[in-house]
């Protein structure tokens, strides 16, 4: 069962420290879940932690949601194997965050309740808008989940030597426990614990590497360029087609502002001020993490060696764990492996919760029950939806075993940037936006992104082994995002909606002032969101 046989390496062996750290993490997070479950009695607590998360806590949780095992292991591997090019990725993954801060965070916090559809549907007709928004959310969440689950199976197989299926089931079961019982309160704390562990682990590893180079990253880069040539410090083959890169860049930049599990986190803080501060903390933490990962990649190239890294995994994913073993022995390897596992768990929990919100809040409570469902029923449906999505994630993880799913994260970002972001921005900024415009924009964004990815070289040539692809770009963002904006604007102008533009003043007021004076949320009003109210009872302290 063990995939690795590098002489002397404990990688892929059931490693006592790894298992110990992993059990410790699962034990602590399940204890948090038990504590959170007792505090989770309403949908507001289940989906938004009762709005009682502080800005700093949410900053860590946002970073936890975003820093996946793929970015930790994948970028370190990419840097180890191709040097500078990994930095292009890191920069791309980070630049979406300022956009989230400037355009999305606080209007979203002020206008919505649990999902981004709350904001889009605010002054529009509930049913059609919720249906299309839920479609966008569930497509993004599904592709992102498949990528994470398949990645989880492979990584845990490599790290611990467990079989792929066992790994996927373990991830699924633990994640379901968090979400089902602890809701957003547990998920938030799992993200915080994971973010702290990941940042501490990566920092310690980088510290151990830099210690050998007199704490000078430049000395490390110099050593790498002496071993592998000066080209490791210069752009390589990653950017060969500028149009392709710009298209990917657009998807990354605006896709972050359309990721349902990220958007959902802004409802967990008490007000707009905390929302914007939390993105500032998150951006700092994520940026720092990417810079550290860059150092880890060079460290692995110099101290482990490219040949040894590709000997274990062609994609270079094991660069960081192997580096940990070289600088800190089996114990450190175990710690880093457990951190990678924890990282996967936390990310899939956040995704599942946001999918469950779309299913229960957007589809069940708003569309099926027209806002008439009593609280206990909403909570029950929310839990059923979490269980369903958790099981689905495990099934999809097993079904997609052995498939190349790396493109699915890019796809999720492309759909988020095309289906969710344009409708969200237009609903907040443009008076004449209409129900038909929103529906047309979201559906166009979803379908055009999926279709163009299906016709792209990634699917046609890499997966289906055809010789040509109808659509030349791997990422369709440069076409689909402007298209979704165009369709949304054109359809709104063609079919004006009087009520929508009349209610824009109300949207504007609430978007800036908060929920105090204007009417409460359109569906199932919450009385407890007036800004002057006392701090809501929730989980702010562990």
């Amino acid at each position: 069962m063990n995939p690795t046989s590098t002489a002397g390496s404990q990688l892929g062996q059931p490693n006592a420290t790894a298992i110990l750290f992993f059990l410790l993490f699962v034990g602590v997070t399940l204890a948090i879940t038990y504590w959170a479950a007792r505090k989770t009695k309403t949908t507001s607590e289940f989906f938004a932690a009762g709005g009682g998360v502080s800005a700093l806590q949410n900053g860590f949780a946002l970073a936890g949601d975003y820093m996946s095992a793929a970015s930790f292991l994948g970028i370190a591997g990419l840097v180890a194997l191709s040097g500078f090019d990994g930095l292009i990725y890191s920069v791309g993954w980070l630049v979406g965050w300022p956009v989230v801060t400037f355009l999305i965070a606080e209007p979203l916090r002020n206008l919505g309740k649990y999902t981004f559809a709350d904001v889009v549907a605010y002054r529009l007709k509930q049913t059609p808008v919720r249906l299309s928004a839920a479609l966008g959310t569930l497509t993004v969440v599904s592709f992102y989940l498949i990528a994470q689950m398949v990645g989880a199976g492979n990584l845990i197989h490599l790290l611990f030597g467990l079989s792929y299926e066992v790994a996927v089931v373990i991830v699924g079961v633990v994640m379901i426990l968090y979400v089902l019982f602890g809701g957003m309160i547990a998920t938030t704390w799992v993200q915080i614990v994971k973010a702290v562990l990941l940042l501490a682990g990566a920092s310690a590893l980088a510290g151990a590497v830099l210690y050998r180079f007199g704490f000078s990253p430049v000395a490390l880069f110099k050593e790498a360029s002496q071993q592998y040539g000066a080209q490791v410090l210069a752009p390589g083959t990653l950017v060969s087609n500028p149009l392709e890169t710009v298209s990917l860049g657009l998807a990354l930049m605006f896709g972050t502002a359309g990721l349902p599990h990220i958007l959902m986190r802004f409802y967990t803080v008490p007000d707009a001020k905390a929302a914007r501060s939390s993105v500032f903390y998150a951006t700092g933490l994520i940026g720092y993490f990417y810079l550290v990962t860059f150092i880890l990649g060079f460290g692995a190239a110099v101290l482990v060696g490219r040949q040894a890294i590709t000997g274990v995994d062609k994609g270079g994913n094991m660069a960081a764990p192997m580096l940990a073993e070289v600088v800190g022995g089996t114990g450190f390897l175990g710690f880093i492996s457990a951190v990678a596992f924890a990282t996967i768990l936390a990310v899939v929990a956040g995704l599942t919760l946001s999918g469950a919100a779309a299913l229960s809040h957007d589809l069940w409570s708003s569309v099926v029950r027209k806002g008439q469902a009593p609280e206990h029923e909403q909570l029950k449906v929310a839990r059923l939806a979490s269980l369903f999505l958790g099981v689905l994630a495990v099934v999809l993880g097993v079904v997609f075993k052995g498939q190349n799913v790396a493109f699915m994260v890019g796809l999720a970002f492309a759909i988020a940037a095309s289906a969710n972001f344009p409708a969200l921005l237009l609903s907040m900024a443009w008076r004449r936006f209409t129900t038909q415009g929103a529906v047309a924009s979201m559906l166009t964004g979803s379908f055009s992104a999926v279709l163009l990815i299906f016709l792209s070289p990634t699917v046609q040539i890499d997966l289906l082994k055809n010789t040509t692809a109808l659509f030349p770009l791997k990422n369709p963002g440069i076409i689909t995002m402007p298209l979704a904006f165009f369709v949304g604007i054109a359809v709104s102008l063609l079919f004006p909606e009087k009520e929508s533009s009349e209610r824009f003043a109300e949207v504007k007021h609430r978007m800036h002032v908060g929920a105090g004076k204007a009417a409460a949320a359109p569906v199932t009003p919450v009385p407890s969101v007036s800004p002057g109210a006392a701090p809501r009872p929730t989980a702010t302290k562990a």
């Binding site: 500078f84 860049g249 504007k508 105090g516």
Partner: protein, 92 residues
Amino acid sequence: MSEPSRNDALEALASSRWRVAAALTVATLVAYFGFILLVAFNKPLMGQQLIPGLSVGIVLGALVIVTAWALTGIYMLWANGRYDRALNPLRR
């Protein structure tokens, strides 16, 4: 304060927020796509080493990351300070 003047004040604040947000978004776009286009079209420059081991590309890449963070910081300071202070009297 009478209703119309409250509305005017809010209107002015709202447009100032969108202006600041749009300007900072454009700044982020310029920093990021400037970096990407340099990577795409001027590889020799990006590979040039300022001191042995430190290439222009690495410095600029790290700078984009720091700039992105700094821009969110500028927004936060502006919004938590001036913007919120102006907004407070409009809250009830």
